[in-house]
Amino acid sequence: MIRPPAFRVAVAGKGGSGKSMIAGTLARLLARRGHQVLALDSDPLPGLAISLGIEPGDEPMLEAYSQQDGAGEWRLVRNLKTETIVRRAARSGPDGVLFLQFGKVRTCSPVPASSIQAFWGIATELPAGAWTIVHDLPAGTRQPFGGWAVAADVLLLVVEPTQKSILSARRLTGVTELSSSRTRLVGVVANKVRSAADLDMTTAAMPGVELIAAVPFDPSAAAADRDGIAPIDRDPGAPAVRAVDDLADRLESIAAESTSSEEGP
């Protein structure tokens, strides 16, 4: 089977704006289109599993796959391919999506560097052409700013039509300042849009940031949230799910453009 061009997308935004709903639904839809999808949840307070349609688990952190190099820096273990680590550590979900979460911090001690670096290694060292990564980032600015966001080709800022959400998204655009950024595009996904005025307010508040998709407010998505089931499983034809399918179209065309430009004359 010929897979569509792979890409890495990260989803950031204020808490409750709908990051996990967008990421989980997108991961499932991309898998149905033939992508080999790894869905990453780097939030120590995980929530992506439910939106993907996977029973939430109690995953250990990835310390077991981490070792110190000569300079004392933690890295992924070298005796295993990154793909092998992913296949061992990740869980398999519906539509063949593989799911890996950062894991729970169990004590008040700081998150171990070994675990952080192992997760970073997976997000950055998986063969780029083979795996499509959908990365659900923690809420707010802390970890997205810290570096995980910039491992993605496309960073989606999920914004619901509230001033709090817009203010958070405006802060998140600062991630492009990072020189280590490999992000080619930062765009807005307007979520829970109830009217044209909602959408206008969101785009007006984010000048210079492209609107990639508009996802309508959808009682079906809210009910899925209430019941703890994936929106795509509750109603694959729900308006919000269809809008995420349009987002998948858009991301595929962005990936196809960049693939063809890399192969260009």
């Binding site: 808490g15 802390r142 966001a149 910039v150 203010l167 280590s180």
Partner: protein, 106 residues
Amino acid sequence: MKIAIAGKGGSGKTTLAGTLSRLLARRGFEVLAVDGDANPNLGLSLGLGLQMTAELVAARQELDLTPVDAHPTSIEGIIGRFGVVGPDGVQLIQVSRIDHPVSGCP
């Protein structure tokens, strides 16, 4: 009395904290609202408006930028230096805000 409010993103922590602060102030309490989120939005729920909330100084960053001998030496001094007074007399202090990303520090 000290009240801390926690919960999942979007569950309404900030709205509850802001509204509770205003109502307690109206009942005559002297209220200090502390925004401990690195992505601080409490000013919006307190009624300070978007611009003031966005531009409010964060105590930790300001302290990092000033020499230690110029730091306030009391809690009242910190509130006086960094706090703002909003509607109903509620004082707001923002602990920390991440304005610029740092590479390699997830």
